[in-house]
């Protein structure tokens, strides 16, 4: 093989056709996860994952770290099975499943089976469970595509000729492991109920076989993740069962939730006006509350929900248009979503790798980051403190019906969570110790440091400006006292690196870069030399003196030292001289 031929060669030209692996592929689920998550949420279906045991264990374990339940069996194929064919292993398992008399058997194949190309269909036919669905997610497809393939597979369960029930809808899209689906579905059902509409079936999270079989009873299919999955299924259901569908609005934020409900109400000839009026008024009362607008109007958000494009599109639009937040960066999974998010954000990345996100966090310095586990880790490492979990993977995260992102309650929850996170963290961060000193003492500030502090103030939102400046001032004083000097520009820079109301790190960096530039453009100050011996810490105090005055300060101090009968300049002497001058 060419691999052997090239063995030992330093030349890497043989790699020219290989693909550089990037971190993005590690933290993004695939079509296999999509298919498994889509079907495992059907409570009374029997799922068989046709895979090696490791593949099964990881799928099931990861699933159960985020979900309340969800069970599946596995064929646990071995290397020998692969060599000899996996049919026997599958057959043995299916025989056991058949004995359970499941309402439906769903077989999801793993990547190994896609490589061996084993005859899964043949074995399934041989066992003959009446309702059997086989889903074979192809290698290289996305999470959303895997879900869609599973949804489409479920169409064979659906009964033709069902009698249409008015004011009944199906919700297409929510699956297990879709972030926060349980709360979102709960809220969507609540709102629909408020205008007299019933949810017939959810495809598929927490659904039953019965519900899926009778899905064609619905008068309307509603795609709630139109940038991810469900749309293709809705088109197919329209063809097969003549059910119209809507996929124009993502019910996130007050505006889009109202539009979503309004559209559904219009199609089903339901009067939603009174309900919408109440919700919008209530939304305005909430959104115009003191703390909400005070905090959000001057905050920025990074939307890193790149495993759920519908969230990215919906949340970015809501926070920007209705809540006045700056969406300073976003990460999405597809160009289609990127196109939408760009309407409110100038820095949209499509499937960024970790390093790209890192650079963008530092450059944009968001007040809060909405994202997944990796974003949380990255932002914590970088010193960003305000974070809201909003996407998978989350490694382990508990959620229930309580805190939706979708719907009117979802809009309020998002705002509550973001505002409280920003406000409380900044509030606490600007406090010293409960019984700590307010000021460490009288400290001299170099002119350029004093001016830099005023420029730092301009970078702080008004709601936190005066208290944050006080904190920076205090920390700089403390550091200077510790070093037995005054506050220099260097110390201030150090303080802003160590202590920062979270988002401002990046902006501070530009400030100090500017100031260094200004200072390098300025004419060189008069050179000076020490005639007498100076203690190092006495020399450090000179840093507080503007450069143009340093020569005079050295000269004056040495004259004073001689007058005092000293032959060495110490810190005490410099301070005594400063006192003499009235500083």
């Amino acid at each position: 093989m060419s691999q052997n031929k090239d063995k030992g060669k330093k030349d890497s030209s043989h790699l020219k056709h290989t693909r550089q692996m990037t971190m993005k592929e590690i933290h993004k689920p695939s079509s296999f996860e999509g298919a498994v998550w889509a079907v495992v949420g059907i409570k009374d279906a029997r799922i068989v994952f046709h895979s090696p045991p490791g593949c099964y264990m990881m799928q099931h374990m990861n699933l159960l770290c985020g979900e309340q339940g969800g069970d599946m069996y596995c064929t646990q194929i071995s290397y020998a099975n692969v060599m000899m064919g996996t049919e026997d292993a599958l057959e043995k398992i299916l025989l056991k499943v058949a004995a359970e008399k499941p309402k439906v058997l769903i077989i999801v194949t793993s990547p190994v089976i896609e490589i061996t190309g084993d005859d899964v269909e043949g074995i399934a036919n041989k066992i003959g469970i009446e309702q059997t669905i086989i889903i074979r997610p192809p290698i290289g497809m996305t999470l959303a595509e895997g879900k869609e393939k599973a949804f489409l597979g479920l169409l064979s369960l659906m009964t033709k000729g069902e009698k249409r029930v008015e004011k009944n809808v199906n919700i297409l899209g929510p699956t297990y492991e879709t972030f926060n689906w349980r709360a979102d579905v709960f809220e969507l059902k609540r709102m629909l109920a408020c205008i007299g509409i019933n949810v017939n079936a959810v495809l598929t999270a927490d659904s039953t076989v019965e519900e899926i079989m009778h899905a064609p009873r619905a008068a309307l299919n509603v795609c709630v993740y139109p940038y991810d999955c469900g749309r293709e299924t809705a088109v197919e259901m329209e063809k097969r069962f003549n059910i119209p569908f809507v996929a124009n609005h993502i019910p996130i934020g007050f505006r889009e939730t109202a539009a979503w409900l309004d559209e559904i109400a219009g199609l089903l000839k339901v009067d939603a006006a009174t309900y919408l009026s109440e919700e919008i008024k209530s939304g305005l009362d909430f959104a115009s509350g003191l703390l909400v607008s005070n905090t959000l109007f001057e905050s920025s958000a990074a939307i890193c929900t790149d495993n759920c494009d519908s969230y990215s599109v919906g949340i970015s639009s809501f926070l920007s248009r209705e809540m006045g937040m700056e969406i300073c960066m976003a990460a999405v999974g597809t160009e289609k979503a990127a196109e939408q998010v760009r309407k409110v954000c100038d820095a949209v990345m499509v499937n960024p790798v970790i390093d790209e996100k890192k650079e963008m966090f530092l450059d944009k310095a968001p007040t809060i980051i909405l994202g997944n586990y990796y974003d949380l880790k990255l932002s914590t490492d970088l010193g960003f403190k305000n974070f809201l979990m909003a996407d998978i993977p989350h490694i382990g995260y508990v959620f229930s019906e309580n805190r939706p992102f979708m719907g009117f309650m979802g809009a309020k929850n998002l705002v509550e969570s973001i505002t409280n996170e920003i406000y409380m963290k900044i509030f606490i961060e600007t406090k010293g110790e409960m019984e700590g000193a307010i000021s460490a003492g009288e400290v001299d500030w170099a002119l350029d440091a004093e001016r830099a502090l005023t420029r730092i103030a301009e970078m702080l939102p008004h709601f936190v400006r005066s208290i944050a400046i006080k904190k920076i001032h205090q920390v700089a004083d403390d550091m200077a006292i510790e070093r037995n000097s005054g506050v220099t520009l260097k110390i201030l820079q150090e303080v802003t690196r160590k202590y920062t109301p979270t988002r401002f790190k990046g902006k501070y960096a530009t400030l100090f870069a500017d100031m260094e530039e200004i200072s390098s453009d300025a004419p060189s100050p008069e050179p000076f030399q020490f005639i007498m011996d100076w203690d190092e810490d006495a020399k450090d105090i000179l840093e507080m003196v503007p450069e143009e005055f340093q020569a005079k300060a050295v000269e004056g101090t040495e004259v004073y030292a001689r007058q005092q009968g000293q032959d060495r300049v110490t810190v005490e002497l410099v301070k005594a001289y400063q006192k003499e001058l009235g500083f």
């Binding site: 109202a258 959104a287 460490a440 003492g441 500030w445 004093e450 005023t454 103030a457």
Partner: protein, 419 residues
């Protein structure tokens, strides 16, 4: 008389946070628990450290039989626990009402604790200049117990408003220091630094608030009060600094001002152009005395302003006269009675309102941008005004208000105002 008080907080609270931001002074709030709790919570937003309020939490029996012993004990406790240089007793409404002999308690304790300086101020009934007066009365009380120090000839003391000014005076002191003029800033974060104000030959207020404080310094330490004008915006800052240059005969400071003007003028001109294009009416209602400063900045940019002032002392009168002469009809002051801020909104039809929380709830249903005065402190110098002006229209978030208006029009009958 308005139907409610539109100020930020009780003068007790401001006195508490004011001295609560200075190392070396510990305030004791002398009053009932409701007073202690309310002011403790209200002060939490801006107190940096030492976050618990020492108070006497007077009980009913003490109201009847006197709370002097409780106060005396608290002072002794605080002295032994924290060893402060000054304890300031903030005597709230109830002790005043029952005629407690607070000064008698302090006189006795001065003999018992000779190393401790005991100061005393009365707060609570200061309607309707409560917020700024809380600063002034507490500073005045502190001034009364400072020790004299040698005056430094030709030195300048910058007299700020409240504790938070301690960290924002660099925008002015850095220029004056650059010119080689000895400068003292008041307030400061540490009592040792703040106490040097007694060395200043000239006291130059940078806010309208510290009128009584300046008078106390003049009376006790023979300082000369020179009110120039509020050093905010372009003209205000330049005039103030040139005024200081005149007082101290400093050509160097005048040169610094000229340099700074050259630096900032093009940006100011751009802001004025923007305000010229977008005619703007602003209503400003009783802030912590920054309503006049912000109004001054906005009037300089070209806005039409109506101000309900929080201060009516001699400094305030002087500044108002100056601004009325400078900006004519574009600078109006409303000192007549009114019931609600909404009434003023109906009369003046502003594009934006600066006010405090109590007024905000009236105005926001009209979908008019409302900015909270308390968030617009540290307003001194050129750069604050530049930042304020350059971001002013963006900070109003007009598209967000338009979005909500459009939602209200589409789904909720257009208006959310309760008639």
């Amino acid at each position: 008389m308005t139907l409610k008080c539109y100020e930020h907080c009780c003068s007790s609270c401001i006195a508490l946070v004011n001295v609560g931001k200075t190392e070396g002074i510990i305030p004791i709030l002398h009053g009932p628990q409701a007073c202690t709790f309310g002011n403790q919570i209200g002060s939490m937003f801006c107190r940096p450290s030492r976050l618990l309020t020492v108070g006497t939490t007077l009980h009913k029996s003490e109201v009847i039989f006197g709370g002097e012993e409780n106060l005396r004990q608290q002072i002794i406790n605080v002295y032994h626990q924290y060893n402060p240089k000054i304890i300031l007793v903030i005597s709230t409404c109830v002790p005043q009402l029952i005629g407690e002999d607070v000064s008698g308690v302090l006189t006795e304790l001065r003999e018992e604790l000779p190393d401790l300086k005991l100061a005393y101020c009365q707060t609570g009934f200061n309607h309707h200049f409560a917020t700024p007066r809380g600063s002034d009365v507490s500073w005045t009380a502190v001034i009364e117990v400072l020790d004299p120090q040698d005056k430094v000839e030709n030195s300048v003391g910058l007299m700020g408003r409240a504790g938070q000014d301690a960290d924002s005076l660099g925008v002015l002191t850095s220029f004056i220091r650059e010119a080689g003029i000895t400068t003292y800033a008041f307030p400061a974060g540490h009592l040792d630094e703040m106490a040097k104000i007694v060395k200043a030959e000239f006291l130059c207020p940078i806010q309208l608030v510290p009128y009584q404080t300046c008078k106390a310094l003049q009376n006790r330490f023979d300082s000369k009060i020179e009110y120039i004008e509020l050093p905010v915006g372009f003209q205000g800052t330049s005039n103030f600094l040139r005024g200081v240059a005149e007082l101290t005969s400093s050509q160097k400071l005048k040169d610094v001002v000229t340099r700074e003007e050259t630096r900032v003028l093009p940006r100011f001109e751009k802001i004025k152009e923007e305000f010229h294009k977008k005619k703007t009416k602003v209503l400003l209602v009783t802030g912590p005395s920054n309503e006049i400063s912000i109004a001054k900045i906005l009037a300089e940019f070209g806005a039409e302003v109506l101000v309900v002032p929080s201060m009516r002392n001699a400094f305030a009168k002087q500044e108002q006269a100056l601004l009325k002469a400078r900006y004519k009809d574009r600078f109006r002051v409303r000192e007549d009675d009114f019931d609600t801020v909404l009434q003023l909104v109906d009369e003046f039809c502003p594009d934006v309102v600066f006010c405090d929380f109590q007024a905000r709830v009236e105005v926001t249903p009209r979908l008019i941008p409302v900015l909270i005065n308390e968030n617009y402190l540290n307003e001194y110098g050129y750069d604050y005004a530049l930042d304020f002006g350059e971001n002013f229209f963006e900070n109003l978030k007009t598209p967000v208000f338009n979005e909500w208006q459009s939602m209200m029009d589409q789904y909720a009958g257009g208006s959310h105002v309760t008639e």
